[in-house]
């Protein structure tokens, strides 16, 4: 029994996958707290799809793939901002047009570039087949990103909550805006290997939502998000070993399960608590009414 449970740890590729999953989970979840507050959840979706042409072009001209991915991810964000500012089309529509355009363009040039890139790995991740340098690269980039976000966490938080106030007290909001976008692009590039383009959006939204249901304090929100994401990553990789299923899908489904639990049982903002409060409220109202009168 115990031997079976410990079996995954005997394989180096499983241990690597768990470490990378936890690192990616940590950096994505911290960023997700800001995205959820800022209302940028779907910006993550857009940027993650938009990295495809960058990857293909970088491969074709021999640049590191991460550089191409980062550049085209940022291009998507900047183009969305520009078109929104200069036309009457709504932001969500612009986002849809821009990221699908880039993704489609990526698909078309992919067919014309002879490569040993696997489209499946870009889309769904390949965490169980990491190359020797991948573990080191992921840890370095994830660590640096996490470090900078945590150092600047107060400025970023103020920008997300109330950008007007941030400007009045002398912070450069344009700088913070592009900084956050760059973090988003870097994080997506780092996470591609683990969960792939399509599911990275879950890593960038769900932990923040879980934490936002459970607490009203930003610091505890960061901790809860990170804990739920790192836990889901670890158990997702672990579980996928036994049921022989897609690792990315297992990680995301575990996160979704935690979200559902928080949705129902969260002490203050959960469905259950809300119902109890309503019941208390409805019996409490007449008394209050009398008191006021």
């Amino acid at each position: 029994m115990i031997t079976t449970l410990l079996e995954p740890f005997q394989f180096p590729f499983m241990v690597d996958a768990m470490i990378v999953g936890i690192a990616v989970g940590a950096v994505c979840s911290v960023l997700s707290c800001y995205l959820v507050l800022k209302g940028w959840s779907l910006m993550g979706d857009a940027i993650s799809h938009a990295v495809l042409p960058g990857i293909v072009i970088a491969y074709a001209i021999g640049l590191p793939l991460a550089v191409g991915a980062f550049a085209s991810g940022l291009f998507c964000a900047v183009a969305t901002g520009y078109i929104k500012a200069n036309s009457r089309v709504k932001e969500d529509t612009v986002m849809g047009v821009v990221f699908t355009g880039l993704f489609a363009f990526g698909l078309v040039i992919f067919t014309k570039v002879k490569s040993d890139l696997h489209l499946d790995h870009i889309l769904f991740g390949n965490i169980l087949g990491l190359a020797p340098g991948d573990l080191r690269d992921t840890l370095i980039v994830a660590g640096l990103t996490l470090g900078v976000i945590l150092v600047l966490r107060r400025d970023l938080l103020l920008y997300c909550f109330d950008s007007g106030h941030a400007r009045t007290i002398g912070l450069s909001t344009a700088f913070l805006h592009y900084l956050l976008l760059s973090f988003l692009a870097v994080t997506i590039v780092v996470s591609l290997k683990a969960v792939g383009i399509i599911l990275v959006i879950a890593m960038l939204v769900t932990p923040g939502c879980i934490a936002y249901l459970l607490t009203d304090r930003f610091n505890s929100m960061l901790l809860i998000a990170a804990a739920s994401a790192m836990g889901s990553s670890f158990f997702g990789v672990y579980l996928s070993f036994f049921i022989n299923a897609s690792t990315g899908a297992c990680i995301v489904l575990l996160q979704a399960a935690v979200f559902l639990t928080a949705l129902v049982f969260a002490p203050k903002h959960g469905l259950w608590a809300a119902r109890r409060q309503r019941r208390l409220g409805s019996t409490g109202t007449p008394a209050e009414g009398r008191g006021a009168a």
């Binding site: 940028w40 200069n86 363009f105 990526g106 078309v108 249901l213």
Partner: protein, 292 residues
């Protein structure tokens, strides 16, 4: 040269693909006018990803793929609505959580029982290999969507522009809301066949957005969007013969190119037009200010 260009048209599967793409492209473009006005673009993206578990289950169970897809699409839409009204989370975050969970569930099912469903054909579409029963399903979906839109477009238009006035006029906005959501799910399922889950949102957004840049009249917007949808889908399906069958990529790249052209050159709302108007306004202001 000409011979090379005509080669695709000699194959029956190419002609079939061009025809079916044109139908789907037209219907999606028609609907896209409502979706862009309503601001539901990302709902289209979310629904197209949410149908994946339904497609997987339908294949295992031997149902028509459209039935399964449609059910999970609607489940996801209802789930999003529920979570949004019951919590303090923003709508975009709720959409993100729900659709990724559905998509992951689909991915899990497919990875557990790999032989049955081809993941690539769900994610990228497979119009060049579409089977006849699937064509029938797509045509039924398109026909029903067109009929509903044809009869209800005025009500839906009012609902998209100004739900409060629609309610004041005695229209049942809840019914209209679900009608539009149902049509969106249905067309997302149809478009999945042509361009795949990742690019469905383009078919449901780009033609409407392009037409919106070109005209201020809704009737004309529908005309422009639909002809653009039909045209790009036909040319894209044809061109995909030369691009290793990446039909979705070709269609959506074409649509995006037209959008960029409209963005720059649209007579009234384009970048050049706006700049010219601003300059004219500045000159005009200068001219009127000078005498005073």
């Amino acid at each position: 040269m000409i011979e090379t260009l005509l080669t695709p048209l000699q194959y029956e599967y190419m002609l079939k693909a061009i025809f079916v793409s044109a139908v789907i492209g037209g219907v999606c473009a028609f609907l896209s006018c409502f979706i862009t006005l309503k601001g539901w673009s990302l709902m289209g993206d979310a629904l197209s990803h949410s149908v994946v578990p339904g497609v997987a289950v339908a294949y295992y169970a031997g149902w028509p793929f459209a039935a399964g897809a449609f059910v999970t699409g609607l489940l996801a839409a209802v789930g999003m609505g529920f979570v949004k009204t019951k919590t303090r989370l923003r709508e975009d975050a709720v959409i993100g959580v729900v659709f990724t969970a559905f998509f992951a569930l689909g991915l899990l099912l497919i990875s557990l029982y790999p032989s049955q469903v081809d993941l690539r054909s769900i994610v990228f579409g497979n119009i060049l290999g579409i089977s006849n029963p699937d064509i029938v399903q797509v045509l039924i979906i398109s026909g029903v969507t067109l009929v509903v839109l044809g009869f209800k477009w005025r009500d839906l238009l009012l609902f998209c522009f100004d739900p409060n006035q629609a309610r004041a006029l005695g229209l049942n906005t809840t019914v209209l809301h679900f009608t539009l959501l149902t049509l969106l799910s249905a067309t997302a399922v149809a478009a999945l066949q042509t361009v795949g889950a990742c690019l469905v949102v383009a078919m449901l957004v780009t033609p409407g957005a392009t037409a919106y840049l070109l005209t201020d009249r809704f009737g004309r917007m529908i005309g422009i969007a639909t002809s653009m949808g039909v045209g790009t889908s036909m040319v894209g399906a044809y061109a995909s013969y030369f691009f290793d069958g990446s039909t979705g990529g070709c269609i959506v790249t074409l649509q995006s190119a037209l959008f960029v052209a409209a963005l720059v050159f649209a007579p009234k709302h384009g970048l050049i037009g706006q700049r010219a108007r601003r300059r004219a306004a500045a000159l005009g202001a200068g001219a009127t200010e000078a005498p005073s």
